[in-house]
Symmetry: C2
Subunit: 216 residues, 2 copies
DNA sequence: GCCAATAAATGAACATGTTCATTTATGCAA
DNA sequence: TTGCATAAATGAACATGTTCATTTATTGGC
C-alpha cells in the first residue's frame, strides 16, 4: 500500500487499533440488530459472526461469552442514557420529580425494546465475570452516586428530611427502581407513561412513609 | 409379577404414577446435589441424568429445559419455606417485625446455598415459559398476598397508617425484599443476620418515610 | 525494505442443551 | 390371559456455545 508513511486521519492510533475498533463496531451492530430481531436466546453466535463479517472465534476476543456480547452492545447505550439522564434533572424541583426525570430516558429507551431489556435484566443478575462487566457495573455505581447527590442536596435544602445515610437512601431508591422496572416489563406492552407513573407512586409512598407518625 | 391384584401401599395410584413420582424424585435429588456442588452453569444435563439413573431425554419429560430443572428442584423448597414463613409471624407485633419474621426462613435457607440462590435469582427473571413456571409464580403471588393481609391488619389496628392500597404496599415491600436479597447475595459470604438487618433498615425507612412531614 | 516478535483472526473440533422417531411399559377391555 | 391403546422412556442426532492450535496481520528495530 502507498500510504504506509502518510499520516492517518488519526495519526496517534496504528492500523491494528483501527482494525480492532472497526471490528468491534461491526460486531456491536450485528449483535444489537439480531438481539432486537430475534431476542437473546433466539440469536446464535454464528449468526452474529456472519452478519458482522468475522469468523466465529473472533467474537470471543471482544467478549468473554455470549452474555458478554449483550453488554458489549449495552455499555455504549448505558453511557448515552446516563449522560442524558444526568443532564435532564430539574434543579431545585421536588425530589420525586428529580428521580423520575433521572430515570425518564431509561424508560423511554426500554419501552422501545422491552424484549431486549428483559434479556438484559436477566443476564445482568450477578454479572461480574465477563470482560464487559466492570464497565457495566461502574455505570450502575455512577447512577447510584448521582442519586446520592440528589438526596444530599434535597436534605440540605429541606425538600427531604431523613437522618439516614444518603448512600443508603440512594441504594434503596435504585432498588425500588429496579423492582418497578421488572414489574413494568413483566407486562404485555409496557408503556412509558405507565412505567413512570408506577415509579412515581412508590417514590411518593417512600417519601410519605407508611406511618403512623411518631409524636415529634 | 405376583402382586398384580394385591393392593399397593397406596391403592389409588397405579404403577405408572408411582414410577413417575419416583423418577421425578430421583431427578430432583440429582439436580439439587449437582447444582449445589458445581453450580447451575457448571452442571450438565447429562450428569444429572446419569446420577438420577435415567436417560438424558427423560429429564425433558419432567422439565421443559435446563432452567426448568432449577425450579423443579426449588418449587418443593419454596412450598416448605412458605409454610414455615407463614407460620412464624408474631401476631400483633410491630409491622416491620412481622415482615422480617416472614422472610427469616428464606434468609436462613439462602444463606446455606448462596451460589444456588444467585443462579435461581438470575433464572427466575421473567420466567414464565417452563412447565414448572406456573407453580413457582403462584408461590410468589401467595407470598405477596400474605404481605397484603399483614398490611391490612396493621392498618386496621393502627400499627400502620397509609391511604395507599394494601396490594400496592405489599408489592413494594416484596420489591424491596428482592433488591435487598440481591444486594446481600452480591457480597462474598452473605450472613443471615446481616441480610435481615439490612432488610429491617429499609423497612424502617419505608415506614418512617423520607419526610419532610406535612402539617396534619 | 526486511525480519523477528507480538497481536489478532480463524474455523475445525469439542462440549453440552434439546429434539424426536423408536422402543418399552402400563392400563384396560374383551 | 391376550391384545390394543396410551403414556413414558430412551439415546442417537442435531444445534449451538466455546476453546485453542494454527494462520495471518501489524509493529518496531535494524
Amino acid at each position: 500500500m502507498a500510504d504506509t508513511d502518510i499520516p492517518d486521519s488519526d495519526a496517534t492510533v496504528g492500523q491494528r487499533e483501527r482494525n480492532k475498533a472497526e471490528k468491534r463496531h461491526r460486531i456491536e451492530e450485528a449483535a444489537l440488530a439480531l438481539f432486537r430481531e430475534k431476542g437473546y436466546d433466539g440469536t446464535t453466535t454464528r449468526e452474529i459472526a456472519r452478519r458482522a463479517g468475522v469468523a466465529l472465534g473472533t467474537l470471543f476476543t471482544y467478549a468473554s461469552d455470549k452474555r458478554d456480547l449483550l453488554f458489549l452492545v449495552y455499555n455504549d447505550r448505558q453511557d448515552e442514557l446516563r449522560r442524558e439522564a444526568f443532564g435532564s434533572i430539574p434543579e431545585g424541583a421536588p425530589f420525586a420529580d428529580q428521580i423520575v426525570a433521572l430515570f425518564d430516558p431509561f424508560y423511554t429507551h426500554f419501552a422501545k425494546e422491552p424484549g431486549f431489556t428483559r434479556d438484559l435484566l436477566r443476564e445482568l443478575t450477578f454479572y461480574t465475570d465477563g470482560v464487559q462487566a466492570p464497565r457495566f457495573q461502574e455505570g450502575r455505581l455512577s447512577i447510584v452516586a448521582r442519586i446520592r447527590e440528589l438526596v444530599e442536596d434535597a436534605v440540605a435544602d429541606g425538600r427531604l428530611s431523613t437522618p439516614e445515610a444518603p448512600r443508603l437512601i440512594a441504594e434503596m431508591i435504585f432498588g425500588l427502581y429496579q423492582s418497578e422496572l421488572r414489574r413494568w416489563l413483566a407486562g404485555d406492552k409496557p408503556s412509558k407513561p405507565g412505567g413512570l407513573a408506577a415509579l412515581r407512586r412508590v417514590l411518593d409512598i417512600l417519601i410519605a412513609g407508611l406511618g403512623p407518625r411518631d409524636a415529634d
